[in-house]
Amino acid sequence: MTGNGNDTTGERLNLRSRMFELTHLHPWIERLALRHRIPANTQFAMNLCLEEAISNIIRHGYSGDPDHSIVICFTSPREDYFVFVVEDEAPPFNPVELPELPPLNSLEELAIGGQGVRLLRRFADALEYQETPAGNRLSIGFTVTGSAVAKKSERG
Protein backbone atom coordinates (compact mmCIF):
# COMPACT_ATOMS: atom_id res chain seq x y z
CA MET A 1 0.00 0.00 0.00
CA THR A 2 1.52 3.28 -0.99
CA GLY A 3 -0.84 5.54 0.84
CA ASN A 4 -0.45 8.22 -1.79
CA GLY A 5 -3.38 7.11 -3.89
CA ASN A 6 -1.46 6.56 -7.10
CA ASP A 7 -0.49 2.91 -6.92
CA THR A 8 -2.39 1.76 -9.95
CA THR A 9 0.03 -0.89 -11.09
CA GLY A 10 -1.18 -4.44 -11.46
CA GLU A 11 -4.73 -5.23 -10.48
CA ARG A 12 -4.88 -3.45 -7.18
CA LEU A 13 -5.64 0.14 -6.31
CA ASN A 14 -4.85 1.72 -2.97
CA LEU A 15 -6.70 4.87 -2.03
CA ARG A 16 -6.72 7.18 0.94
CA SER A 17 -10.06 8.17 2.40
CA ARG A 18 -10.33 11.46 0.54
CA MET A 19 -12.91 12.26 -2.10
CA PHE A 20 -10.17 13.53 -4.39
CA GLU A 21 -8.82 9.98 -4.53
CA LEU A 22 -11.83 9.00 -6.63
CA THR A 23 -10.06 10.65 -9.55
CA HIS A 24 -7.71 7.64 -9.61
CA LEU A 25 -10.57 5.23 -9.99
CA HIS A 26 -11.79 5.86 -13.53
CA PRO A 27 -8.36 5.76 -15.24
CA TRP A 28 -7.60 2.50 -13.42
CA ILE A 29 -10.87 0.93 -14.54
CA GLU A 30 -10.28 2.20 -18.06
CA ARG A 31 -6.90 0.45 -18.14
CA LEU A 32 -8.47 -2.75 -16.82
CA ALA A 33 -11.20 -2.49 -19.42
CA LEU A 34 -8.67 -2.17 -22.21
CA ARG A 35 -6.60 -5.06 -20.91
CA HIS A 36 -9.56 -7.38 -20.39
CA ARG A 37 -11.69 -6.14 -23.30
CA ILE A 38 -14.53 -5.11 -21.06
CA PRO A 39 -17.43 -3.54 -23.00
CA ALA A 40 -18.31 0.10 -22.44
CA ASN A 41 -21.63 -0.68 -20.76
CA THR A 42 -19.98 -2.93 -18.20
CA GLN A 43 -17.23 -0.39 -17.68
CA PHE A 44 -19.87 2.24 -16.98
CA ALA A 45 -21.45 -0.01 -14.34
CA MET A 46 -18.04 -0.65 -12.78
CA ASN A 47 -17.29 3.06 -12.55
CA LEU A 48 -20.68 3.82 -11.08
CA CYS A 49 -20.70 1.04 -8.49
CA LEU A 50 -17.14 1.56 -7.32
CA GLU A 51 -17.60 5.30 -7.09
CA GLU A 52 -20.72 4.79 -4.99
CA ALA A 53 -19.13 2.16 -2.76
CA ILE A 54 -15.94 4.12 -2.17
CA SER A 55 -17.59 7.50 -1.66
CA ASN A 56 -19.86 5.85 0.90
CA ILE A 57 -16.84 4.44 2.73
CA ILE A 58 -15.12 7.83 2.76
CA ARG A 59 -18.21 9.81 3.69
CA HIS A 60 -19.89 7.45 6.12
CA GLY A 61 -17.50 4.63 7.05
CA TYR A 62 -14.61 6.91 7.85
CA SER A 63 -16.83 9.93 8.58
CA GLY A 64 -14.66 12.11 6.38
CA ASP A 65 -11.45 11.36 8.27
CA PRO A 66 -8.85 11.56 5.48
CA ASP A 67 -6.13 9.30 6.83
CA HIS A 68 -7.56 5.84 6.33
CA SER A 69 -7.04 3.38 3.53
CA ILE A 70 -9.27 1.67 1.01
CA VAL A 71 -7.89 -1.21 -1.03
CA ILE A 72 -9.54 -2.40 -4.23
CA CYS A 73 -8.46 -5.65 -5.88
CA PHE A 74 -9.57 -6.70 -9.33
CA THR A 75 -9.90 -10.31 -10.39
CA SER A 76 -11.42 -12.16 -13.30
CA PRO A 77 -12.20 -15.63 -11.92
CA ARG A 78 -13.62 -16.81 -15.22
CA GLU A 79 -14.14 -15.57 -18.73
CA ASP A 80 -16.37 -12.52 -18.96
CA TYR A 81 -16.77 -12.26 -15.21
CA PHE A 82 -15.03 -9.56 -13.22
CA VAL A 83 -14.90 -8.93 -9.51
CA PHE A 84 -13.72 -5.96 -7.50
CA VAL A 85 -13.01 -6.61 -3.83
CA VAL A 86 -13.17 -3.43 -1.78
CA GLU A 87 -11.63 -3.56 1.69
CA ASP A 88 -11.69 -0.89 4.35
CA GLU A 89 -11.01 -0.50 8.04
CA ALA A 90 -14.24 1.25 8.86
CA PRO A 91 -16.86 0.09 11.39
CA PRO A 92 -18.92 -2.86 10.15
CA PHE A 93 -21.45 -1.93 7.48
CA ASN A 94 -23.25 -4.45 5.32
CA PRO A 95 -24.81 -2.81 2.25
CA VAL A 96 -26.09 -6.17 1.02
CA GLU A 97 -28.59 -6.46 3.85
CA LEU A 98 -29.37 -2.77 4.16
CA PRO A 99 -33.06 -2.02 3.54
CA GLU A 100 -33.42 -0.16 0.30
CA LEU A 101 -34.67 3.40 0.51
CA PRO A 102 -37.45 4.38 -1.86
CA PRO A 103 -36.37 6.40 -4.89
CA LEU A 104 -36.31 10.14 -4.55
CA ASN A 105 -39.66 11.67 -5.34
CA SER A 106 -39.32 15.31 -4.55
CA LEU A 107 -36.70 18.00 -4.65
CA GLU A 108 -37.23 18.50 -0.95
CA GLU A 109 -35.47 15.18 -0.35
CA LEU A 110 -32.01 16.59 -0.32
CA ALA A 111 -30.66 13.71 1.70
CA ILE A 112 -30.01 11.40 -1.20
CA GLY A 113 -27.90 8.98 0.79
CA GLY A 114 -29.08 5.42 0.31
CA GLN A 115 -29.40 5.81 -3.42
CA GLY A 116 -25.86 4.46 -3.74
CA VAL A 117 -26.97 1.09 -2.41
CA ARG A 118 -29.87 1.07 -4.85
CA LEU A 119 -27.51 1.81 -7.73
CA LEU A 120 -25.10 -0.90 -6.58
CA ARG A 121 -27.88 -3.46 -6.57
CA ARG A 122 -29.19 -2.44 -9.97
CA PHE A 123 -25.90 -2.11 -11.81
CA ALA A 124 -23.81 -4.90 -10.30
CA ASP A 125 -24.43 -8.55 -11.09
CA ALA A 126 -23.27 -9.85 -7.72
CA LEU A 127 -22.68 -8.36 -4.28
CA GLU A 128 -21.11 -10.19 -1.37
CA TYR A 129 -20.23 -8.79 2.01
CA GLN A 130 -17.87 -10.06 4.69
CA GLU A 131 -17.00 -8.44 7.96
CA THR A 132 -13.24 -8.71 8.49
CA PRO A 133 -11.17 -8.36 11.66
CA ALA A 134 -10.10 -4.94 10.41
CA GLY A 135 -13.33 -3.73 8.86
CA ASN A 136 -15.32 -4.64 5.77
CA ARG A 137 -14.89 -6.54 2.53
CA LEU A 138 -17.36 -5.94 -0.28
CA SER A 139 -17.11 -7.97 -3.48
CA ILE A 140 -18.82 -6.48 -6.51
CA GLY A 141 -19.19 -8.76 -9.53
CA PHE A 142 -19.93 -7.91 -13.14
CA THR A 143 -20.70 -10.18 -16.05
CA VAL A 144 -20.39 -9.27 -19.68
CA THR A 145 -22.78 -11.71 -21.29
CA GLY A 146 -26.30 -11.04 -20.14
CA SER A 147 -25.04 -8.22 -18.02
CA ALA A 148 -27.33 -6.70 -15.44
CA VAL A 149 -26.64 -3.41 -17.15
CA ALA A 150 -28.59 -4.56 -20.18
CA LYS A 151 -31.22 -6.65 -18.43
CA LYS A 152 -32.04 -4.17 -15.73
CA SER A 153 -32.19 -1.21 -18.07
CA GLU A 154 -35.18 -2.85 -19.69
CA ARG A 155 -36.95 -2.83 -16.36
CA GLY A 156 -35.96 0.81 -15.78
Binding site: F44, E52, L107, L110, I112, Q115, R118, R122, G156
Partner: protein, 56 residues
Protein backbone atom coordinates in the same frame (compact mmCIF):
# COMPACT_ATOMS: atom_id res chain seq x y z
CA UNK B 1 -21.50 12.64 -6.21
CA UNK B 2 -23.16 12.97 -9.60
CA UNK B 3 -26.68 12.90 -8.27
CA UNK B 4 -25.95 15.53 -5.68
CA UNK B 5 -24.48 17.70 -8.40
CA UNK B 6 -27.87 17.63 -10.11
CA UNK B 7 -30.27 17.64 -7.19
CA UNK B 8 -28.83 20.54 -5.20
CA UNK B 9 -28.81 23.04 -8.11
CA UNK B 10 -32.25 21.83 -9.23
CA UNK B 11 -33.65 22.56 -5.83
CA UNK B 12 -32.07 26.01 -5.83
CA UNK B 13 -33.44 26.78 -9.28
CA UNK B 14 -36.94 25.64 -8.37
CA UNK B 15 -36.71 27.57 -5.12
CA UNK B 16 -36.26 30.72 -7.17
CA UNK B 17 -39.20 29.87 -9.37
CA UNK B 18 -37.14 28.50 -12.23
CA UNK B 19 -37.38 25.28 -14.19
CA UNK B 20 -34.83 22.67 -15.08
CA UNK B 21 -34.91 19.71 -17.42
CA UNK B 22 -32.39 17.13 -18.55
CA UNK B 23 -31.94 16.90 -22.30
CA UNK B 24 -30.70 13.88 -24.15
CA UNK B 25 -29.03 11.64 -21.57
CA UNK B 26 -27.65 8.43 -23.01
CA UNK B 27 -29.28 5.12 -22.09
CA UNK B 28 -27.04 4.32 -19.14
CA UNK B 29 -27.19 7.79 -17.65
CA UNK B 30 -30.96 7.73 -18.02
CA UNK B 31 -31.05 4.42 -16.19
CA UNK B 32 -29.13 5.96 -13.28
CA UNK B 33 -31.51 8.91 -13.19
CA UNK B 34 -34.57 6.65 -13.23
CA UNK B 35 -33.18 4.16 -10.73
CA UNK B 36 -32.54 6.93 -8.24
CA UNK B 37 -35.80 8.77 -8.94
CA UNK B 38 -34.09 11.94 -10.12
CA UNK B 39 -36.26 11.85 -13.25
CA UNK B 40 -39.33 12.47 -11.10
CA UNK B 41 -37.80 15.74 -9.93
CA UNK B 42 -36.05 16.80 -13.10
CA UNK B 43 -37.93 15.79 -16.24
CA UNK B 44 -35.97 14.06 -18.98
CA UNK B 45 -36.50 14.98 -22.62
CA UNK B 46 -34.94 13.55 -25.73
CA UNK B 47 -36.37 16.07 -28.18
CA UNK B 48 -34.88 19.54 -28.00
CA UNK B 49 -38.19 21.22 -28.84
CA UNK B 50 -39.88 19.38 -25.99
CA UNK B 51 -37.11 20.28 -23.60
CA UNK B 52 -37.36 23.94 -24.51
CA UNK B 53 -41.16 23.85 -24.28
CA UNK B 54 -40.94 22.38 -20.79
CA UNK B 55 -38.90 25.38 -19.72
CA UNK B 56 -41.43 27.94 -20.98
Amino acid sequence: MGLRALVAPARAIKGRGGKIVIFGPNELVEKVLKTSGVDTMIPIHHELQNAIAALQ
